[in-house]
Each structure stands twice: as structure tokens, then as C-alpha cells.
């Protein structure tokens, strides 16, 4: 495999986002759209409004992240006493009961990964907006990482779903999903869409234009 020394954009080509066919980008008017000749997908040089859309979704996700961590994830009532559990109190429960591996898994998936995604996405957005040319390869790697790990945050939602079924049917207690669950699901969904809206090729566009 041989690489040329130019990007599709520099050669006036555009790669189809779905089937990856290269087409010549015809100079069309602003209202006219170009379509891939192989699969019919609308062609755009870069994901539309990538920066603004990603910012909006990251900010929305950060807003959801607050109630997701402060409000209870589960509400349990047994023998007349009601107890609520947040994500962190669940983690602490596992540390005290001796299963620190599980505590680590939940903490990583629910607290650390969403936080890390915010940091990485904001760093990538700012680096593109401020036209940074530093370490483009590492930044692309960071992007790939955020895209790959984001889904694992769904873990706690699934744990709640499974616990609700088992605890109720085992007559251990009465348990319900708390208000944090829905905010938490919103964090996962918005950060996943945010990662998908960001176009890593923007990182390289800056590098090409500067050199």
C-alpha cells in the first residue's frame, strides 16, 4: 500500500462517509447538494457544523452529568425503611463489602469515562479552534479512544435494570430506579453522539494548512 502526500481535500476530492468512494467535489452552488455515485449518500467535505454541534452536545452532557451523580440511582425500601443509592454510594458499598474490583469497574464506567470524554472532547475542540499543530497523531488517537470507550458507561443503567427485576422477584425488598438513571442515560447518549459529531479530519486540516 502506498500513500500519496496529499489529502482528499487538497486534491479536490471528497470521500463518501458511508461507502468511502472518492468523488471529485464539483463546484456547486450553496443550495445544491452532491451525492455519492455509488451509494447515494449526500457528500460533504467534512461533517457539517462539526465543532458547534460537538460543543452543544458536550455542554448538554455536562449539565446532565450533575444530577446523574447527585440524585439517587436506586430507591430501595425494605421493612418500612427507605434507602437511596447514588452512583458513588454504590461504589463505596462495594469497597466496604470487599469487592474492590467491582467498585473499580463501576467507578471507571460511570464516573471516570464520562469525565474523561468531556476532557478529551473539549481539548480536541479547543485545539482545532485555536489551530494547534501539536501532536496531531496523538490527538487522533485520543479521538479514537473516546469513540471506543463511551458505550461502556451504559453499565450502571443495565445493573439497575437487572437489580430491579431480581430484587423484586426475589422478595428481598422493593426497589425502583431513581431519578438519576434517566439523567445518566442522557449523559451516555449525548456523549456518544458528541464523539460521532466531531470530525477528526479537522485536526489534520489545520496541520496541512499551516505547513
Amino acid at each position: 500500500m502506498k500513500a500519496t502526500h496529499a489529502s482528499a481535500r487538497q486534491l479536490g476530492l471528497v470521500s463518501c462517509p458511508d461507502c468511502h468512494l472518492l468523488s471529485r467535489m464539483k463546484k456547486t452552488s450553496a443550495h445544491e447538494a452532491a451525492y455519492c455515485s455509488r451509494c447515494g449518500r449526500e457528500l460533504q467535505q467534512r461533517k457539517p457544523n462539526s465543532i458547534m454541534r460537538t460543543w452543544a452536545l458536550v455542554i448538554a452532557a455536562m449539565v446532565f452529568y450533575i444530577p446523574a451523580n447527585l440524585l439517587p440511582m436506586t430507591i430501595t425500601s425494605a421493612l418500612g425503611s427507605v434507602s437511596t443509592d447514588t452512583i458513588m454510594s454504590g461504589v463505596i458499598y462495594f469497597i466496604h463489602s470487599g469487592s474492590w474490583e467491582i467498585a473499580l469497574v463501576i467507578f471507571t464506567a460511570s464516573v471516570f469515562i464520562p469525565f474523561l470524554k468531556f476532557v478529551i472532547l473539549i481539548y480536541l475542540l479547543l485545539s482545532v479552534q485555536f489551530k494547534s499543530i501539536r501532536r496531531p497523531k496523538d490527538r487522533t488517537r485520543f479521538y479514537r479512544f473516546t469513540e471506543a470507550v463511551g458505550r461502556w458507561s451504559m453499565l450502571d443503567i443495565y445493573v439497575v435494570t437487572i437489580l430491579v427485576a431480581l430484587v423484586k422477584l426475589g422478595f428481598l425488598a422493593d426497589i425502583e430506579a431513581g431519578p438519576a438513571a434517566i439523567y445518566f442515560a442522557a449523559v451516555v447518549v449525548t456523549t456518544m453522539i458528541a464523539a460521532e459529531s466531531f470530525d477528526p479530519r479537522l485536526i489534520w486540516d489545520v496541520v496541512e494548512d499551516r505547513s
Binding site: 500519496t4 489529502s7 470521500s15 422477584l169 426475589g170
Partner: protein, 199 residues
């Protein structure tokens, strides 16, 4: 030989005909652009059929059973989702239903819809939109994360009751692997080339 642009950094590469299972890696950003597959059609179909058999087991057999002294009860894959729904948190119930139960099924049916006609060398309507959909739902199919959720739940309740994994859990665990084998046998480039002109 054809040219493609890396989808993560846009650099153009000349791709010669590649040996089977070789990966084309972008020289600039290091991303895997695609992987050539051997016997893509046959392998994809075989794993997908195996996956559908396992899926049938997953939805029809008991999932987890809980024993608390004399009391015992079985849960199905849908039980938790049903409780969330009844509690009124419908978006959450829908999200879990989609990501763990419907998406894997849609993926497998989508693969059959694309690959059976490819195998028989016939053309079908809507193959391009179906393959596009298949590509886009991939990150939303989250069975392996659900499996980890099962493990966490078992540890959490282990001190209060006995949890017995049912046949469906074993099938679910196998399905994760089988579906992944099916997905990795798909040669996207080959599929798009074959679907060309189906518009």
C-alpha cells in the same frame, strides 16, 4: 488498484489488491482503514445463522433465577425492562430494549438481507439503505456491556440470595462472540462494490 482516503485524517492511499485478512493502516494517523476478508459471504452467513439460533434461545429460556430461602423466582431478559416501563420511566425502558435486545436482532437480520442475495447472486431492493443502517447502528448494540452488568448484579446480590444463571445467559454470552465473528467477517468494501448501481 483503487484509491481511498483515510476516514480519520483524509490522507489518500493507493490500495493494491490485498492478501486475505491483511489490514490497510493509514500511514499518517495509524487508523485501520479496512481489512480484507477471506470467504466473507460464507463466513458472515454461517455466523449470522448461528447467532439467530442463539438469539432464539436467549429470548425463550429463563435468564436469571433468584433463590431467597424457600422463595424462588425466574426472570427473563425482558423482566427488568418491563418493571422500568411499569414504573413510568419509558425512555429508559426503550433505551435498554433497543441497545440489548433489538439492535443485535436488527444487525443479524440486516446481514441476512444483504448477504443471502450476495450469495445467490441476485439483487434486492433497499439493499443500500439496509447496509447503511447496519453500519450506523453498530455502536448502539451493547450486549457485552449488559453481560458485565449481569456479573456486577450477581456480586451485589450474592450475599443476600442465590442467583442461578439460566440457559439464556449462557446463550447470551455465546451470542456476544458469535455476533462479533459475524461482524468481523463482513468485507465492507466488497459489499459496497457489489451493491453499486442498486440505486
Amino acid at each position: 488498484m483503487h484509491q481511498i482516503a483515510c476516514h480519520e485524517c483524509d490522507l489518500i492511499h493507493d490500495i493494491p489488491s490485498m492478501p486475505d485478512r491483511a489490514a490497510a493502516v493509514c500511514v499518517r494517523c495509524g487508523c485501520v482503514m479496512f481489512r480484507a476478508q477471506k470467504d466473507s459471504i460464507d463466513r458472515t452467513l454461517a455466523w449470522t445463522f448461528a447467532g439467530l439460533v442463539l438469539y432464539a434461545v436467549v429470548v425463550s429460556f429463563p435468564f436469571l433465577a433468584i433463590k431467597n430461602g424457600p422463595i424462588g423466582n425466574e426472570t427473563g431478559l425482558l423482566t427488568g425492562i418491563e418493571f422500568l416501563y411499569r414504573q413510568g420511566i419509558i425512555p429508559l425502558a426503550v433505551l435498554v430494549l433497543l441497545t440489548c435486545i433489538l439492535m443485535p436482532l436488527i444487525q443479524m437480520l440486516g446481514l441476512l438481507y444483504i448477504f443471502i442475495p450476495l450469495k445467490l447472486n441476485v439483487r434486492v431492493k433497499y439493499a443500500i439503505p439496509v447496509f447503511r443502517l447496519f453500519k450506523h447502528i453498530k455502536p448502539w448494540s451493547m450486549m457485552e456491556i449488559y453481560m458485565l452488568g449481569i456479573l456486577v448484579s450477581i456480586v451485589k446480590l450474592g450475599k443476600m440470595a442465590t442467583i442461578v444463571p439460566g440457559l439464556a445467559v449462557i446463550a447470551f454470552g455465546l451470542l456476544i462472540f458469535v455476533l462479533n465473528f459475524a461482524l468481523s467477517a463482513v468485507d465492507e468494501h466488497m459489499v459496497w462494490e457489489n451493491l453499486e448501481g442498486d440505486l
